[in-house]
């Protein structure tokens, strides 16, 4: 899950990481009140949305007085950025910037350690820096026993602040990095990013903030629960799936699929493509085989108007095939749709499953390629 800027900055402040004087509001009137009473002028008004590119879309603007704030806040609130309607804005103190730096802590799979990425050329997209100025990107490994290695970090510190008038001491810089790493671990994050980072009145300050949380860690952090629904970028079907505890990703094709297991679900999509069809979704109903899950899955795929045919591909291991068949039968009774179905079911209790489906006239096979070729044909005819 991704935290919005204002949420990430709340995390920063509780970890004694400095941010500008600012707060989140939801109406132009509150924005004016905040600017008048505490933030002061000039101030920056920033759209709070879970997508990037808000600056280019006009979602970040400077206001010089109350009139400006009212006008800009009214304009930004309600605007749409990449399909996300702005409902929250941040009113933030405008600070003087000498230089914009980049800083992030990210999970590094290869070394199995967190990696710190830094650059004195921040403020822009980090991919641009890495393409145009790769010599301006510095990486430091965080080790579980020794932490930061001074001999190495000292060199990076020199390169980061070379030719900069305003800078922090090495000791302060390292303390700041340690605070960011602590946030990374304490909140079960997979990315903590500050872009830009600035030095303001001899202190490091986060002008922007981005935190990606490990979904597997969320149960340890009840403080983030309130953000889960509001931060999600998802289609109607994806929302229904999340609420039903299923993994669903919308795609562009017209063959809906229901599969158990992520790897098999991907392989099923690949096989559909191989035989000339196009998948409408990725849907993993997971390992356990509660019939209700199948009913929910059917509801979700049948609600997608683009779908022309449905493919069920189940390889029963822990999943019991007869449970799937029962759920499917129940789903057909409860969900109304008129789409052709191709079914492949094999594994634990598959014979029972086949006889349940044959009773309700659903064609079923044990061969994956056959079922896929069949559904591709059905989608073409439909």
């Amino acid at each position: 899950m991704k935290l919005l800027e204002y949420q990430a900055k709340e995390v920063f402040r509780s970890a004694a990481i400095r941010t500008p004087n600012e707060a989140m509001v939801t109406t132009p009137q509150d924005a004016v009140k905040l600017a008048e009473e505490s933030v002061g002028y000039p101030c920056v008004i920033k759209a709070q949305v879970p997508v990037g590119g808000r600056g280019k879309a006009g979602g970040v603007k400077v206001a010089k007085n109350a009139e400006d704030v009212l006008q800009i806040a009214s304009q930004i609130l309600g605007m749409s950025i990449k399909g996300c309607v702005v409902e929250k804005i941040l009113v933030s103190e405008a600070v003087t910037i000498q230089n914009e730096y980049y800083l992030s802590v990210v999970l590094h799979r290869a070394s199995q350690k967190p990696m710190i990425i830094m650059s004195p050329s921040g403020g822009v997209d980090i991919e641009e820096i890495s393409k145009n100025q790769p010599d301006k990107i510095f990486k430091e490994e965080y080790d579980f026993i020794v932490g930061f290695k001074d001999y190495s970090l000292r060199k990076t510190y020199q390169k980061m602040f070379q030719n900069q008038e305003e800078r922090v001491s090495y000791k302060e810089f390292k303390e700041f990095l340690n605070k960011i790493v602590n946030v990374y671990f304490e909140k079960d994050a997979t990315l903590v990013e500050i872009n830009p980072l600035i030095v303001y009145k001899n202190e490091c300050m986060a002008l922007d903030a981005k935190i990606l949380l490990d979904d597997n860690g969320l149960e340890f952090h009840p403080e983030f629960e309130k953000y889960i629904t509001s931060n999600a970028e998802e289609t109607e079907q994806e929302k229904m799936a999340r609420e039903a505890n299923l993994t669903y990703i919308s795609l562009d094709g017209n063959i809906a699929c229901m599969v158990n297991g992520a790897g098999l679900a991907m392989a099923t999509m690949d096989t559909i493509k191989h035989f000339g069809g196009s998948p409408a979704n990725f849907l993993d109903i997971g390992g356990s085989s509660h019939p209700e899950k199948v009913v929910n899955a059917l509801k979700i795929i049948a609600s997608n108007k683009k779908v022309k045919a449905i493919l069920i591909n189940i390889f029963g291991g822990i999943t019991r095939c007869d449970d799937i068949a029962h759920g499917f039968k129940e789903g057909l009774e409860r969900v109304s749709f008129n789409l052709p179905i191709s079914c492949r079911i094999i594994g634990t209790n598959d014979e029972k499953a086949h006889s349940i489906l044959r009773e309700i006239n659903i064609p079923v096979t044990t061969d994956m390629d056959e079922a896929v070729q069949n559904v591709v044909k059905l989608a073409r005819e439909g």
Binding site: R109, Y184, A189, E219, V259, L264, T319
Partner: protein, 286 residues
């Protein structure tokens, strides 16, 4: 010989009294796995499925010479269960549990570096099986047949799919290992390839990968340098939308790695044939 697991392996199940733990312990016993006990703190002294329950892994190791531990405990307690098994001195730890936070696994991996004799498989994996000898995990035993193909996979049900088609085509397996789909796992493709390369029963190897990360690219480079046996691969997700990236910083680290295209290319360069659909794996192995 098979790798990592055979008829002499003494297996315990951490979390044996839970719903999944007891069901799969029963399946394993029926398959012929030498399950010597289970561990559930507070239930020591009782028995389940005809085997004793211990309060700690340490007790099971001392009394039953357990050398393999299978973990079914819930995600919040899984990393501690791995550490407990490692401290007790089992040789092989298999963690089935899904949903272990990735930063907890980073710390567990750093800890396991101080225990070079301990191997972890998983988490979020289906386990492993040496057909006809022993099964540790949740793989459906009946689809496997003893034979000469070593199978290593990041997936669960996709592994069953491919093994089923191998078995139907007349092939059998020496050992089949699901290494798990999480970003941080104990045993990777390279570890397993090296074991298969040294195993006399294994004549050829099937590698089942998927999009994301760079494990397949690294495996391809390793195969090119070190593996003398025939390898056939399948990569799931050729048609999948790009992996949810970990922001831009993640994209920099991976340096363009992780796409199905890149992985297939890496395998071709290493002389490994890549199947386009699961049912082609058996054809390419012939």
């Amino acid at each position: 010989m098979s790798i990592l697991l055979d008829e002499n392996s003494n297996v315990i199940v951490q979390g044996i009294t839970g719903r999944d733990g007891s069901f799969h312990a029963d399946q394993m016993i029926q398959y012929g796995t030498n399950v010597v006990g289970g561990v559930t703190p507070g239930k020591g002294g009782q028995t389940i499925l005809g085997v004793p329950i211990f309060n700690s892994v340490q007790e099971a190791v001392i009394e039953k010479k357990a050398d393999v531990s299978l973990i079914f405990v819930p995600a919040p307690f899984a990393s501690d269960a791995i550490v407990e098994a490692a401290d007790a001195g089992v040789r092989l730890i298999v963690c089935i549990t899904e949903g272990v936070p990735v930063n907890q696994m980073l710390k567990v991996q750093a800890y396991l570096k101080s225990k070079p004799d301990v191997r972890l498989i998983g988490p979020n994996c289906p386990g492993l099986i040496s057909p006809g000898k022993s099964k540790v995990g949740i793989l459906p035993g009946h689809i496997f047949k003893q034979g000469n193909v070593g199978v290593v996979s990041r997936s669960g049900t996709l592994t069953y799919e491919i093994v089923y088609s191998l078995t139907s085509a007349g092939f059998g397996e020496s050992t089949c290992i699901g290494i798990g789909g999480d970003p941080i796992i104990g045993t990777d493709f390279i570890d397993t390839l090296s074991l298969f390369n040294d195993d006399s029963q294994t004549e050829s190897i099937v590698l089942i990968g998927e999009i994301g990360g760079d494990a397949e690219e690294k495996a391809a480079a390793y195969i090119r340098q070190n593996i003398k046996k025939k390898v056939v691969a399948f990569i799931a997700g050729v048609t999948a939308p790009p992996e949810k990236r970990m922001g831009h910083a993640g994209a920099i680290i991976s340096q363009g790695m992780g796409t199905a295209e890149g992985k297939v290319k890496a395998f071709h360069e290493a002389g490994v044939k890549v199947a386009s659909i699961p049912s082609q794996v058996a054809d390419l192995l012939r």
